[in-house]
């Protein structure tokens, strides 16, 4: 009898927890969408400027999100460009070349790296900028370049791990076929193993993009500011979407600005949700046929 009660209570508890989480998430998203959906339109992004001329950089956007969106876009692209080659190469080394002892040591390093809070990575980026400023050039301060380097450090472990995992998941017979036909190790990796594990690597990269787009702690320490206009050089400060949301939440001066904050939140949310769904979709859908070379 006692066991029956326990079992009944467990079922009840699970459903209650599920419903609670579901309602909390719906409340969170519902509140954001209902309060903010009116503000999502072209003038939220471009202000009074004409969209076409703004995109072609012929007209400056003053009270719109365009500079922030452009800043986030440039930032994400730069970070990913730094992180992909290094991350994928390190992942390949871990999966294909490293001996078991070397692997163990490197594993520890990457585990620690992936656990470091983003604000500490940001602090590292900031002190790196200060270091460069003191010893090399007065022109370097917290800027787009430093931010993108710090962000690439933040997402490096994701890319390394997904690359490693998807390479290691390849079955042995597939691994040995090309080698048995006389291919070198490098040919085997590039012509057989990488194409085969592409979906895993891609999903890791997309998760990394999502992480770059949403992270606020790193960029607020390394050069994101509230108003800078479009990013015009690697060594300039810039605007970014998540930082804009944070800034508005503490410094908004009037209801219009607050509505912009809601609009920016919705845009960022849709962006990240889209990237996440894409990453999960790709892991199942995309396969090596995409890069198949006869």
């Amino acid at each position: 009898m006692k066991f029956r009660t326990l079992e009944g209570l467990t079922v009840l508890f699970s459903w209650a927890a599920g419903l609670l989480l579901l309602s909390a998430v719906s409340l969170l998203l519902g509140y954001l969408l209902i309060k903010g959906y009116q503000s999502v339109n072209l003038s939220l992004i471009f202000g009074d400027a004409s969209p076409l001329r703004a995109v072609l950089l012929k007209e400056r956007v003053f009270d719109g999100l365009f500079p922030a969106i452009a800043g986030t876009l440039v930032l994400v692209i730069l970070s990913i460009v730094w992180a992909i080659p290094v991350g994928v190469a390190a992942g390949i080394y871990l999966a294909e070349y490293a001996g078991s002892r070397v692997k163990k040591v490197l594993d520890v390093f990457f585990d620690v790296l992936s656990g470091i809070p983003s604000i500490v990575v940001g602090l590292f980026g900031f002190s790196f900028a200060v270091f460069l400023h003191k010893h090399y050039s007065d022109r370097i301060g917290p800027c787009l370049l430093i931010s993108s380097i710090a962000l690439s450090i933040l997402v490096l472990p994701y890319i390394i791990r997904t690359t490693q995992a998807s390479l290691e998941g390849i079955p042995l017979d597939l691994r040995l076929t090309a080698l048995a036909l006389g291919a070198t190790r490098f040919q085997n990796i590039f012509l057989v193993l990488i194409p085969r594990s592409l979906s895993g690597i891609m999903s890791g990269i997309i998760l990394a993009i999502g992480r770059c787009a949403e992270d606020t702690a790193v960029i607020m320490l390394t050069g994101a500011v509230a108003s800078a206009g479009l990013p015009h050089s690697l060594f300039s400060q810039y605007e970014a979407l998540p930082f804009f949301i944070y800034y508005i939440s503490s410094q908004y001066a009037n209801p219009d600005e607050l509505m912009q904050g809601y609009g920016a939140s919705i845009i960022l949310l849709l962006l990240c949700a889209g990237l996440f769904s894409l990453a999960y979709g790709i892991r199942k859908g995309l396969n090596y046929w995409a890069f198949y070379r006869p």
Binding site: L28, T216, S249
Partner: protein
Amino acid sequence: MKRFGEMLAERTFLLSALASSSITLAILAFMVFMGLPLMKEGGFFQLLLKPWAPFQGSFGIYPMIVGTGAISFLSLVFAFPLSLGCSFLIGAIGPRPVRRGFRRLIELMTGIPTVIYGFVGIFLLVPIIRELFQQGSGLCILTAALVLGLMITPTMTLFFCDSFDRIPRSFLDAADALGASPVQKLLYVILPSAKKGMLNGVILALGRAVGDTLIALMIAGNAIRVPESVLDPARTLTAHIALVIAADYDSPEFRSIFTCGIVLYLFTMAVTFLVRYLGQAEGRRE
């Protein structure tokens, strides 16, 4: 020529791996190097226990450590039962479509940007807490912990589900053969053998809660003093770094953020090693 290419490729891969792993050390080295002057004066451990009193020349980070501890622990208290229930639902109890749909939802939840949790927290939850308790501004440990708890629940749930999934198929088949209901299977087969994996999940979620910046920065109120109740505002180590960074480069206040950085770094390192150790212990047992 071919052999040279092979070697070049291997070297490149090795170099990338070495470069990425050396970043791990470089970060710690930078923290120590920048924080050294302050630590030389007071000693690292004294700094951790001293109060924050800039006008008396004391830059201890004790209040921030207490604030971080209180917010993270409280958020675990909220998130643990919630994650437990959700993972039960996904792992065994729910009907098949519910299990799959709910898992998708939770995976998607891990993709919601932190700053959005903070944003909605400020404008939705803070007023509610303020009205409910009729005390202070609503920016307090309780509010921050509630939002933080919601943020780490998906991560924790997914870790729990993973540890349920690792249970050998034969155990479950045996339970099925004996006519166990899903709940019985969960309570008497899955749960006892998934305990270690679940502990891992809790530790990793704690690491995430401690490392989070934005929610505490936006919602916890950021007052530098040792909080006395959950309705008091508090400042976390992460928020302290974000708030002080604008100050003058060489001031002692500024140096104190590197002590915070070192503490956070060492804490996450401890979390990583603990999880690894538990994982190895589990590996040996099987």
